[in-house]
């Protein structure tokens, strides 16, 4: 092979040049991680392979610091016969009736939203909606728990309006009602606001989609937007590193969302599901094509042959590793039987969505347990890897844990020692100050920018404690969802703080008249390399897992966001907990306002 003439790195070239220096450290890989890659491949990785490993083994994709803690959600999972898909899937799926299922999940898009508030928040919504879509569900509604720095800080004036407009711009244009969320101000988020987004969707239980790329000979189809240079390195760089002065150069990692294309993608996918035309489906989010190709093949134990030059590009000059790393939005990967390919392409065309066959599923070599992912570029092999090594064999760390030094002090500063309002006037002044405070004041400036009516099934939305969506007009069946988190409690006691968030969301759902059945969560923390942060994380996970066991509802999925800090200062630990409940008849919902004069008031509990 005369790869010297090529302007890209190939497997052949890698074999011939074992000692070539590679920029693994700049890509966020440790020396020992790089050595493991060489070991797995039996040679140095190509440039494309190195990019793929660096993304897939990043904190964001591999959960290398959180994995050993998150497994408690499985180990302590209460018995539930409702769970059709759980942790490990794009989103958890819960059976609501014999025939109907619901899926929901919350994810973070914190760092991109600080860099470019509108697009960061917009693409956060777009990403979580594709997760829900990938399970086979029609997305029904979104929610957005948000955290900002001090309300009167000038940078909050830059970030907040952009984030709110972005959440609204994308969700409104997709036609998904926004049924709740949070807006909380605290100085700990000054340089690192939190933008979490939840989506809930509904599906007939027998329409549940799988991501497995089963069936050698099946065609791999990329559907949706063209691939561009946007977001390259977004996952590994923006989400898996501390956010500091260096972030200036990271700016190009930000992506622009196109909700119109996503809307068409939703409609075409649903039509494909309904017509039973596909074998597998996976959304492209963080880590783009790399993640979708490796996860779908690894989970099936198959391999793939991909011709990368068939990927439709926005910029023809893109290189193989850029195409593999691109985080261009609004794309889905499909696995299709050859006989059904034309029907699939026809449906895409009907909706005006691009769909392109880019390769085939392959069987493992004789004697091998799993297949290989081979990617060619203009006839040369640029990637030849066992896909499982990227997905499952990433590093796992048991990071050191240490209770924060200041915790005893903080805990000693009891609320009981604070002066209490003594007179009626004091009390009045205190109440006025509280209702006028940014965290308690009316949030309609935000919520009025969101469409809550679209789809015609919103029974409860802002400012109710929980959102309530009707699923069935004839029976009144519906689901209620609430998201909660209180980082000041979690800072004082992460174990109890996570449980308090869970309990609050649980109560919020219950008071609508719904029966709580499932939990999702987004764990927003500082750097996992800081033992104090890691301790907070471990405690929060333990608290949440114990709380869910106690309440008898399983965690069905979620997301971890680390490195939320400015310099050495981490945000308050912010576990956001979402609870979903089933409402048998939404016409009997209980809104939070007083309904009738003369009704009797009770206080339940202590």
């Amino acid at each position: 092979m005369t790869s010297v003439e090529l302007d890209f790195d190939t497997v052949g070239h890698a074999v011939q040049t074992p000692d070539e220096e590679q920029p693994y450290a700049e890509l966020g890989l440790q020396q020992d991680e790089y050595q493991r890659i060489r070991q797995i491949l039996g040679r140095r990785p190509t440039q494309s392979e190195l990019a793929m490993y660096s993304i897939m083994w990043s904190e964001h994709c591999s959960y290398k610091s959180s994995k050993i803690h998150l497994k408690q959600f499985v180990e302590k999972k209460p018995a539930s016969d409702r769970m059709l898909a759980g942790i490990g899937e794009n989103a958890g799926v819960i059976a609501i009736t014999d025939k109907l299922a619901v899926t929901f999940k919350v994810e973070s898009h914190n760092h991109p939203s600080y860099v470019e508030p509108y697009q960061g928040a917009a693409t956060g919504v777009g990403g979580i909606v594709r997760d829900i879509l990938a399970m086979g569900a029609r997305p029904l509604a979104v929610m957005d728990p948000l955290r900002f720095g001090a309300a009167d800080h000038p940078d909050t004036a830059r970030v907040l309006p952009g984030v709110v407009a972005g959440v609204g711009g994308y969700g409104n244009c997709l036609g998904l009602p926004n049924i709740g969320g949070e807006v909380v101000f605290d100085p700990s988020y000054q340089g690192n606001p939190l933008v979490n987004a939840l989506c809930v969707g509904v599906l007939p239980a027998d329409r549940l989609q799988r991501k497995e790329a089963d069936g050698p000979g099946n065609i791999v189809v990329l559907m949706g937007a063209k691939t561009g240079r946007d977001g390259i390195g977004g996952v590994s760089v923006l989400a898996s590193a501390t956010f500091d002065e260096g972030s200036e150069q990271r700016r190009p990692s930000v992506q622009v969302g196109d909700p119109f294309t996503e809307k068409l993608l939703i409609e075409s996918c649903l039509e494909l599901y309904n017509s039973d035309l596909i074998v597998g489906v996976q959304d492209l989010g963080g880590a783009g094509l790399t993640c979708a190709l490796t996860e779908t093949s690894a989970s099936a134990g198959t391999g793939m042959d991909i011709q990368l030059e068939t990927v439709p590009l926005r910029e023809p000059s893109m290189t193989p590793h850029e195409i593999l790393a691109s985080e261009s939005q609004e794309r889905m990967l499909l696995v299709v039987e050859p006989a059904k390919l034309n029907a699939v392409l026809g449906i895409a065309q009907l909706w005006g969505v691009l769909a392109t066959p880019i390769g085939v599923v392959t069987a493992p070599e004789p004697g091998e347990a799993a297949g290989r992912l081979r990617i060619t570029w203009r006839g040369e092999t640029v990637v030849d890897v066992p896909p499982g090594s990227l997905v499952d064999d990433g590093p796992v760390y048991a990071r050191p844990l240490k209770e924060p030094n200041d915790l005893p002090l903080l805990q000693a500063d009891r609320a009981e020692t604070l002066p209490k309002p003594a007179t009626g006037d004091d009390l009045r002044a205190t109440v006025l100050r509280m209702v006028g405070s940014p965290n308690l004041c009316d949030k309609s400036w935000v919520t009025e920018q969101y469409d809550r009516y679209v789809l015609g099934n919103t029974v409860l939305a802002q400012p109710e404690d929980a959102g309530l969506i009707r699923l069935d007009e004839s029976t009144g069946l519906g689901v209620a969802i609430s998201l909660d988190g209180n980082s000041r409690y979690a800072r004082l006691d992460p174990y109890a703080g996570a449980q308090l968030a869970l309990a609050e969301a649980y109560r919020n759902v219950a008071v609508t008249g719904a029966d709580p059945v499932a939990v999702t969560n987004c764990l927003n923390f500082g750097s996992p390399e800081d033992p104090a942060v890691m301790w907070q994380f471990a405690e929060a996970v333990r608290g949440l897992a114990d709380g869910c066991l106690e309440l008898g509802i399983p965690v069905t999925g979620g997301n971890v966001s680390f490195y939320n800090q400015t310099g050495a200062a981490a945000i308050h630990p912010t576990p956001i907990v979402g609870v979903l409940g089933v409402h048998q008849d939404v016409t009997q919902r209980v809104p939070m306002g007083f309904s009738n004069a003369g009704d009797v008031l009770f206080v339940l509990g202590e």
Binding site: P252, V254, G257, F260, R314, E315, S328, G352
Partner: protein, 78 residues
């Protein structure tokens, strides 16, 4: 009165959904010889006195363009 024009366009590598939507609609108007359409903002700043390019640049930097995703040019209108 003097006018400075600031043209703000998305950086070439950034997706432009607006331009794309227009480009996709052209065939329905019977137009087939257009390779691409990009849409940005044209901002006309009228100074009460003389045109102040530096001022306009500063305004563009701070207010009109987001350097993360957009480029801009500033010029005095003839």
């Amino acid at each position: 009165m003097a006018r400075v024009v600031v043209d703000v366009m998305l950086k070439p590598e950034i997706l432009d959904p607006q331009g794309q939507a227009v480009a996709n609609a052209l065939p329905r108007l019977g137009v087939s010889d257009v390779a691409s359409v990009r849409i940005g903002r044209r901002v006309e700043i009228d100074f009460s006195g003389e045109a102040d390019l530096d001022r306009a640049k500063e305004i563009a930097d701070k207010l009109l363009a987001n350097p993360v995703i957009e480029d801009y040019t500033v010029r005095v209108e003839q």
